[in-house]
Symmetry: D2
Subunit: 434 residues, 4 copies
């Protein structure tokens, strides 16, 4: 209820493509009870009333395939190479995922060679800079305690045919793509090209979005760490604000299209007075506008803390759009905009104030994962490996109703999970702020 839900209509086809039948026995030393088959499925709506409202009468609820180890495999682990690539901005837990996939492939399944392609999809193109890393247990030792990504990353698209050529050159049978919706669009294109060429190469997505905006996954890795670190920045802003007369602390957190980090960190901190997210537009001027509310707040308490998602208030900021290497429209700086707007307004009204603007984004993105994210990454990576060995493809590992699931890549392309303004997260925040 915190997030907008995908509709039953949008999810009418949740079938996961497979490369072929499962005929080889698993190499995992598990009790037989632990193996999972495709008949285990997780329903979309745990809330029965939502189900009734959203699913046409007589129709079944959309269901996700349950992730987990399969008793039979498609690939013979001892005969294949695998590849890993990390794309987009840094996110706590990237190294945990790389480490888990590597160790699970080597130790649990017995795969001999795992290639780490360098610097994002660029590492799969013929224009790549240097050879892929050969990932070993030694190389990933202790990696779970480090931020960043061992493989390097980059933004931007590459030629799909060229990338499939590279996969063939390195004889890769399973490619793990770790990234967000843009990366998944690339992964989906790869899977289509692979199908066209009739190759047996599996493409498995691991959702990486610090913003927590991938649809059909209740949570993504790095998000919990981001809230933890974001809370610290808000606490700093609060200390700065209360240490000055009419002190104002501004904190900008990640969240291009979805304000989950800002809203959650603001809740966790509980000292926030204004929270601004892309999903809920606001007015700057007028009797109910931000500036008037700020003025009233200061008159009442002599300090204020504002937490902004980077994508908040974009409609208020003038100027030409710029795009990054991935083609995303770059956000204009809402923090600078608000600071200038407050300065101009308060100077005009002759209200004394002190303002501090904190942007901790790179310090948060580069953190090692906290314990919860480390566990999540470990289970995510394991389930990605299980799916790949079972010959699943063109899918990513999601998390829904407390279970790991398989979701078609296409579902996440061109859609984003957003805060539900009438859901519990946002409504609770409204009750706690100002």
């Amino acid at each position: 209820m915190d997030a907008t839900m995908p509709t039953a209509e949008e999810l009418k086809d949740l079938t996961i493509p497979t490369l072929g039948k499962l005929e080889l026995p698993s190499t995992l030393s598990l009790t037989s009870d632990h193996f999972v088959d495709d008949s285990h499925q997780i329903i979309l709506y745990a809330n029965q009333k939502q189900a009734e409202a959203s699913v046409p009468a007589g129709a079944a609820q959309p269901r996700f395939e349950l992730a987990g180890p399969r008793a039979k495999l498609f690939f013979d682990p001892k005969k294949i190479n695998c590849g890993i690539v990390t794309c987009g901005g840094l996110c706590p837990g990237l190294n945990d995922v790389i480490r888990t996939i590597t160790l699970s492939l080597h130790w649990q399944y017995g795969v001999k060679k795992v290639w780490g392609f360098r610097f994002g999809y660029q590492g799969l193109s013929s224009q790549r800079r240097g050879d892929p890393l050969e990932l070993s247990a030694e190389l990933v030792d202790g990696l779970q305690h480090k931020g960043g990504t061992l493989l390097g990353s980059s933004r931007g698209h590459q030629d799909v045919g060229d990338m499939v050529d590279t996969l063939q050159k390195y004889d890769v049978s399973i490619l793990f793509v770790i990234g967000g919706d843009g990366t998944f669009a690339g992964g989906h294109a790869l899977a289509r090209e692979i199908k066209k060429r009739k190759l047996a190469i599996s493409v498995i997505g691991v959702p990486k979005t610090i913003d927590n905006d991938i649809v059909c996954s209740e949570v993504t890795f790095g998000y919990s760490t981001a809230i933890e670190e974001g809370r610290k920045a808000i606490r700093s802003a609060h200390e700065e604000a209360i240490s000055a007369y009419n002190g104002i602390g501004l904190v900008k957190l990640m969240g291009r299209d979805s304000g989950f980090i800002a809203a959650s960190a603001a809740l966790a901190n509980s000292d926030t007075n204004f929270c601004l997210v892309p999903e809920v537009p606001f007015q700057l001027d007028g009797p109910n506008g931000f500036l008037t509310r700020m003025e009233k707040r200061l008159a009442r308490k002599r300090h204020a803390v504002v937490v902004m998602a980077e994508g908040a208030g974009q409609e208020l900021i003038k100027g030409p759009d710029k795009k990054d290497a991935s083609g995303n429209v770059k956000n204009k700086d809402i923090g600078l905009f608000l600071r200038q707007a407050i300065e101009a307004d308060f100077k005009k009204k002759n209200i004394p104030f002190t303002i501090r603007y904190i942007d901790p984004s790179y310090m948060i993105r580069s953190c090692p994962a906290n314990a919860r994210d480390s566990i999540f990454c470990l289970l995510l990576g394991q389930n990605a490996v299980h799916a790949g060995l079972a010959g699943k493809t063109d899918m990513f590992v999601g998390y829904w109703n407390h279970h790991f699931t398989h979701v078609p890549l296409s579902v996440a392309v061109g859609r984003r999970k957003k805060i539900n303004p009438v859901g519990m997260l946002w409504q609770t925040l409204l009750l706690m702020t100002d």
Copy 2:
């Protein structure tokens, strides 16, 4: 799947008692979409195959009432007093819950007086030490950044009639009891006595178990912080172990009956070699016993890390049982036991070794909540207040399939959630250790 599930049979009656009809309008400034009514219900099994296997054909799945603000109330907030009591051992987040309940009652609903009874149920008895605290916004300011409990706590039972007398003396309409299954047994007894006396007093439980062992709640507050801090202790044990020849690091973590903290912290850390929990008995001696496996591990790697839940291996330790003030059997010290067993065995075999035993329990219990737990506490406290004002009673706020729920107190009494040995958590741990 990580935990054993309650059976459909056990949960056949999930009806929440209410004190009367909802006739008063809510004082909450919410959009009408945000109010929830009892027709919203969360199903027990999101995994459809589990549902089919567990629910008799033709029968409906067990469902939990959805928590949340009600548009109509039973109590008139302006006319009532409320009370809060915290029981049992410390747990990160206790102060967050106290703060949220206090602020939600005062600010959102307009309740005038909130009593904080001191030192657990003792504070409700006529033998109490000192008067209850009157909780105000000033008193709970910044409380979310502090460990411990502002109200104090204690273990042990009190006379039920005597406690209801105190509630009447202080004219309490809603009592929030924050504690574990023992505390909930007390709360359930209170609710029965209240019913017998035909009083309109609501008893709302907020589950507090650092061990995460309350049934019908996927997770409880403090558990996430405990894993974070437990991971640090394991890392220390690992540094000690690798810095000595045949170095052994032992870490004992909380978990009287359920090994969730030990298993999760071991997963999060990823340097653990042996994880021992109450749910999975183990042998000390013999060719497949712990001592032989330890010997082999050292021969291979020259160091080892062992993580134990405090309730692990109790069947191996001789000596008379002791009980604490709440009547729980006190665990014998598995860490000392294992240290002595290893020392005796290795000296006999003339194997050199260095052993370090770390017990960080009190340092973990007294931590402030991490961001995730703070958010969870805040939502938990809010939902407890919503339930109380709506006249619900003899229930606690649970968390199931990503929704907050209402669960009868009786469900949690005398039962504990445990690790499912064939579930994903334990099976993944087996794959990652030794």
Copy 3:
């Protein structure tokens, strides 16, 4: 040797003014051995060769009076009020100093009333906003765990006569001014005005400069915490840099005129490649300039980390000077300047790169003090109180050769301690970087 030393000539008069004779017995419960008298003096040069080179033959070395409790007092603690004021930017430890001075005055000496003037020297002017706080043990309870300043702060000068009027109005006998060299200039002016009016009011300075740039004090509070936190920011920059092809991480740390924080945090982190401080000018262009060295470094290692003091490279940046409320010239943003310079240069040369600029200043300034700073603040505050009760005035508490000392305020006015480019700190840094 890390810092430039004041000359013997500059320190020829280190006499501390006193308000009168010490005639009242101390109220401290100390062993007699612990009392200190003015005959205890700390020499300037512990390095005998420096002493020989700097002090004229036959002349005595400059010596600082030793700080500490005096057996006899000038003021009768039970009859006086005291005041505290905090000025300038935030610095970890401000609250520790406020707490220690308050508790030492109340508990150890028995002073009845301690006024906390709000928002810097503004709180001493007749234009002040609101009354001073009356500081009590309850109010400062737990304050050592919080960043910021309970009293609030501000920059800027106030009329000296007006401030002395306020001191008289509140009947203040000892004023503790916590701030940097600008604040000490104000304190020195207060002391002169007090002397002119023939009042018995003591002015005691407590040096607060996160930059560690007060002369005649080897170290100041907050500096150790700043290095700890600065190191974290550098680590983030390093993770960002190594995760991109030709990744460059820029970190700007505090240090308007003195680069101690930047240099020390760079040493502590040990992953820094370039450290830029105000004391050591550098070239941007040319064969030995920064841009060429950066290009070579990237060609060699594919990533680089740059740590800058905020006052570094000011001579390279064009544009008009601005001043802050205290009249200090505001630094132009060396981080933005370098980022633009690198971008322009590398685009011209067609070198691909990714650059991240981190400015953690407000997050560092608002931290609670680390343990070392907390201890330092406690001893500093205690010694400030001892000095005040003994009727010392127009002085601050310094730290020299491992002893707390008394130093005339005038010594610190208009001078700053700077990195010694031929000293151990800078030379070691040169050996460890690039």
Copy 4:
């Protein structure tokens, strides 16, 4: 003044032995101003009054040789091998020292081979387990972020002749021994045997004592980190104590013979009520004994925090002495003793109470160094390398009056630095506690 000072008589010979004349030019790229020669000397007493009281009239003060790079060397770096060994218990910063010595030898001086002997002096004996590690820049990369010691450690003595044989076998010209006074006794014995054999092998000590008890060094590495972490444990004890009626929190910290960590962490935390150290014996019983004072404290405040050095109160505890592998008498557990004494006494007197005992020692010893300790380790390691290359021997690098110094190993053997009970540290603590 915090610590007892060595007497001038004890330090009458501070001459550092050298292996021969300095004839080779340094390979360091330093400005000539940065080189140091033996005429730079640091005086013992910066407090002039102490000097007058302690040094016989007409005699010169004892002086320590200043550490630092020499313009001329004894060894040709390109022709020698060096060795490093770490002994005794873990201490934050061990890896920093190993890393700095390795990098300084390789990069700054051009030494080709650096041997890391494994598991303490055992690694120098013919009974050693496995070969020494060859230390390279790759192997020590990132080591400054990790606790423990890469080389492993052990306690206990080895045959001196046997160890010198090993040094000859590996053709070691400079051996760096990192350890405490026991390790230095071993190093001193090595230096004597080397002299007897007329070998040109330098033995340079790097003081490692988390207890901060090496004489003639104001501070040692790891001590600052230990205080930081110790403070956290005390805070936990405080939260536990205030959350119970008559709650008592006991914390045992390191400090076999010297209570610096306990006293400093207690000061840093400021919530401590009783601090017990080996230097200041106390009574358990009687009207002024610990038990009575505890009873009074509880009656007044209903909670208490006790911080103990592990060596405190040994004279009160009955039972036979045990020794560790190094021959040190093992401390009896003062924490258990006090807990039992309080339990027995309070039960007898029928006083209700709750007691929690926290022993965080291994969690502290295994931490990575904080920023201050990292810097200290770096400068210490650099100066040890400078001394070794200059042919100094049988000495360790100390820190005195804010300068790094050379001190004969013999000075530290059989003596320990202790808290001065009439000094500022202890007297301030007395003022702040109870």
